[in-house]
């Protein structure tokens, strides 16, 4: 007996941010956050 559950593909945040021209800022902030985490 296999239980099959449907999944739906959503628009990713990357796609949404790219559309709004905010992806670059986000990725720069993310890189900064990650580098801060590394230093810990």
């Amino acid at each position: 007996c296999v239980v099959i559950l449907p999944l739906k593909k959503m628009k990713t945040l990357r796609e949404t941010l790219r559309e709004k021209n905010l992806l670059n800022n986000f990725l720069e902030e993310q890189a900064y956050r990650l580098s801060k985490n590394d230093s810990k």
Partner: protein, 322 residues
């Protein structure tokens, strides 16, 4: 504290519905092979992300029990903090009784995420102490004839993708499943032999490890190796992403992942994503910050290859998706 540093919610895309409690409260979650905890936002959460997501109200569930232990889960791009609870959880026809799960009271970095919470399907050893993963709980309650689950991620439509539990529906793949042992029973991690283009090895030349991760949509690797692959495509860096001329998709070669001696080609139509008039490479760097020799195969790879996760035999099966 449970740390899952490889998660990347920015690229998460495939979601399904579950219910928690009596009467049931519905949530949209990512079925994530990269982590092992289930969590959803709590009604007491005051973070901005919680105002745009469904929240669980324990007082409205007669079957809820507070476990109380605090939880903190670090993700690549965010953090959730909260406490553990226990309740009845339904995934389709499957019912997990006294299922422990996290209730987030604070969330950072989940604003705008297209899901309420995460349902982790990795091994219990990386789950928060005291929180048995839902697959293990269902397994111990005799819910499955076979302790396996599998993903079919549709290549063409937003609908049509499925996660299946307790067995494999053979209509979703072509040919035979190739089985790959997991490298260690914590993550869904497998050994990869090399990555090649045009017959030349372009990365992972001495072998490497690859996380098979349904919770990430793209492919991640060490920055220098990913940059090399992107340059071989003649991709240019534009706003932190590598872009190619859209016409190039017709001429680019497949990127071939050799796993357990078998080639898994990824055609350019899969590894180049079109957004309006721009065409972007889905190969992303940055993973060396967290692990020097690891790759992360996300939905882009799993749309091409139907994937079976076999807990009993600790192995992953891959076959071309229909």
């Amino acid at each position: 504290i449970t740390i899952h540093p490889l998660r990347n919610y920015l690229d998460t895309a495939y979601v399904g519905n579950i219910t928690i409690g009596t009467p049931p409260q519905e949530f949209r979650v990512v079925f994530d092979t990269g982590s092992a905890n289930l969590w959803v936002p709590c009604i007491t959460c005051t973070s901005p992300a919680c105002y745009t997501h469904n929240t669980f109200n324990p007082q409205n569930s007669s079957s809820f029990r507070e476990v109380g232990s605090p939880i903190t889960i670090f993700y690549g791009s965010g953090i959730i903090q909260g406490f553990l609870g226990s309740d009845t959880i339904r995934i389709g026809n499957l019912v997990s009784l006294k299922q422990s799960f996290g209730l987030s009271q604070e969330e950072y970095g989940f604003d705008g995420a297209p899901f309420d919470g995460v349902l982790g399907l990795a091994f219990p050893s990386i789950s928060t102490k005291g929180a048995i993963p839902i697959f293990d709980n269902l397994w111990s309650q005799g819910a499955f004839s076979e302790p396996v689950f599998a993903f079919y991620l549709s290549k063409y439509k937003p609908e049509g993708s499925v996660v299946m539990f307790g067995g494999v529906d053979h209509r979703y793949y072509k040919g035979e499943l190739n089985w790959i042992p997991v490298s260690q029973p914590h993550h869904w991690l497998i050994s990869m032999n090399h990555i090649s283009m045009n017959g030349n090895i372009v990365a992972c030349s001495h072998g490497c490890q690859a996380f098979v991760d349904t919770g990430t949509s793209l492919i991640y690797g060490p920055t220098d190796l990913v940059t090399n692959i992107n340059k071989l495509m003649n991709a240019r860096l534009e706003n932190s992403e590598y872009a190619v001329l859209c016409d190039a998709v017709k001429t680019l070669p497949p990127v071939i992942f050799n796993i357990n001696g078998i080639d898994y080609p990824l055609p350019p139509q899969a590894y180049i994503t079109k957004d309006k008039n721009s065409c972007m490479s889905i190969f992303q760097g940055g993973l060396e910050n967290l692990s020097p020799d690891n790759w992360l195969l996300g939905d882009v790879f799993l749309r091409q290859y139907f994937s079976v996760f076999d807990r009993k035999n600790e192995r992953i099966g891959l076959a071309p998706a229909v």
